[in-house]
């Protein structure tokens, strides 16, 4: 009976290890990629908005050279504040699962106002007006493409919210499962209740070691500081997020190992003290 109980305790330890690992990964994703404010914070930290603004201005310059229009016509079409607002709208869309459109009418209005101011009202003939309208459409498309980065934003919007909702349910499920495991441990360790910390310690050490291994595997396999995805600005954000996630994994791993060792040492000390003192 004693051996059966011991085996059950170890089985629960294994289960607890898996649950702790899953809970930590879920928590890390929830507090980083699953958190809108975290993404905004990373954008601020990496100066993402300024970089995207510079990209937008540069992309307008691409058309400036072939347009035959005065350089000043292309000035102040968008502001940094607008770029920030629109970028945040995209992120908000992804998190809330809606498709709020980016406002582009102001770009058209600013462009036409610049033409009127620099070239004079009604300076364009019908053909030129048509060509300018076509140019404005190209500029607006360039703007939205630069802000959006990719055409799958709408598809992501549909899935992201659902994934996050499931992750929330999953997280609650894991917490309940951990509680059940601990209750089960208490249930079969009725005589010396402090012994459950021994098995909890084993689970902490195993899950902590696992997290350290994961960190080593990722760091060995992927050169995070050289990752380049979509654009320089986006790459820097992704690099920053991944580095922080890996740091959290390492920190969690080390903390779990320390907590595990302390827990095991104290439990064994109490046990042996009671037995031999």
């Amino acid at each position: 009976m004693k051996t059966v109980k011991k085996v059950i305790r170890y089985m629960i330890s294994i289960l607890l290890t898996i649950l702790i690992i899953l809970l930590l990964f879920t928590l890390i994703v929830s507090f980083t990629l699953g958190h809108k404010e975290y993404i905004y914070q990373k954008f601020d930290e990496t100066d993402y908005y300024t970089k995207i603004y510079e990209q937008v201005v540069s992309s307008f310059e691409d058309y400036m050279y072939q347009s035959g229009l005065d350089i000043k016509v292309f000035e102040n079409l968008v502001s940094k504040e607008k770029v920030k607002k629109d970028t945040n709208t995209i992120i908000s869309n992804i998190f809330s699962g809606i498709n709020e459109e980016i406002e582009t009418q102001s770009i058209k209005d600013n462009f036409n106002a610049n033409i009127d101011r620099i070239m004079g009202n009604n300076a364009l003939n019908i053909t030129q007006r048509k060509a300018v309208d076509s140019l404005i459409d190209k500029l607006v498309k360039k703007y939205t493409d630069t802000i959006l980065h990719f055409e799958y934003e709408n598809k992501i919007n549909n899935y992201y919210k659902v994934i996050m909702q499931y992750m929330d349910i999953f997280k609650k499920g894991i917490i309940i499962a951990i509680a059940v495991c601990i209750l089960a441990l208490i249930g079969i360790t009725t005589r010396r209740i402090y012994r459950i910390f021994n098995f909890l310690g084993i689970s902490c050490i195993s899950s902590g070691t696992f997290l350290i291994i994961v960190n080593i595997v990722i760091n060995t396999g992927i050169k995070i500081q050289k990752l380049a995805i979509l654009s320089d600005a986006m790459s820097e954000v992704i690099r920053s997020i991944l580095t922080q996630i890996l740091n959290i994994i390492t920190l969690s791993g080390c903390t779990l190992i320390a907590v595990g060792i302390i827990s095991i040492v104290l439990t064994n000390l109490i046990h042996n003290w009671r037995k031999y003192a």
Partner: protein, 206 residues
């Protein structure tokens, strides 16, 4: 007595830690057995998403006796100049046709052949006054000289055409005739988005 307690505690702690490490090992092995290949693939893909600047080695572009280019220029770099004496054009030529390239000089469409290879070459540039604004002054028989960093090539203009931006068939890529096609936006004094292109066709002189 205290020594015994410490000894027993140390022994039990070590055993517990070993058990914990065995559990980790078992989980790692299970993951490796069930989805090791998939994880390896993901890491392999992720490791390739990046620029390895340290391993970049610049090799000189050369053309061999079979008119084959060895060590093509890197995308976005200048590898030649184009001279059109009739309209005082002397501009750098870059491999690639991005907007960034076109701000600096003439772009070489990456889908076309290189000068000297024997196939069609497509160059493009803006119609700024210092670039190709004076294309309309060119006549049949005028010369275009391309000085690549692996050789110099001379072409003679035989045709000029105004095409729509969508008429890509008018810039045919063929491998057995070395034609240089240089185009710019049209009309030259256009305002707004130009939907036409002025193309100069030139054939390599023997």
């Amino acid at each position: 007595m205290h020594n015994k307690i410490i000894r027993k505690t140390t022994k039990a702690t070590i055993i517990n830690i070993i058990v914990a490490l065995f559990i980790t090992l078992a989980i790692v092995l299970l993951i490796y057995l069930f989805c090791g290949a998939e994880i390896g693939e993901v890491i392999s893909i992720a490791s390739k998403i990046g620029i390895d600047v340290e391993n970049k080695e610049e090799k000189e572009t050369i053309i061999n006796e079979e008119n084959e280019i060895e060590n093509y220029p890197e995308y976005g770099t200048q590898y030649a100049t184009i001279e059109i004496p009739t309209i005082d054009v002397n501009l750098p030529v870059y491999f690639g046709d991005t907007y960034e390239v076109l701000k600096k000089g003439v772009g070489h469409s990456s889908g076309s052949y290189f000068p000297g290879e024997g196939g069609s070459i497509v160059f493009m540039g803006h119609n700024f006054p210092t670039f190709f604004r004076r294309f309309s002054e060119l006549k049949k028989g005028d010369k275009i000289i391309v000085k690549a960093n692996y050789g110099e090539y001379q072409y003679k203009i035989y045709d000029m055409q105004i095409i729509k931006e969508t008429e890509t068939e008018k810039l045919p890529i063929q491998k057995d005739r070395e034609i240089l096609m240089v185009y710019t936006c049209y009309p030259f004094n256009n305002i707004g988005y130009a939907t036409q292109r002025y193309v100069v066709y030139a054939e390599r002189e023997k």
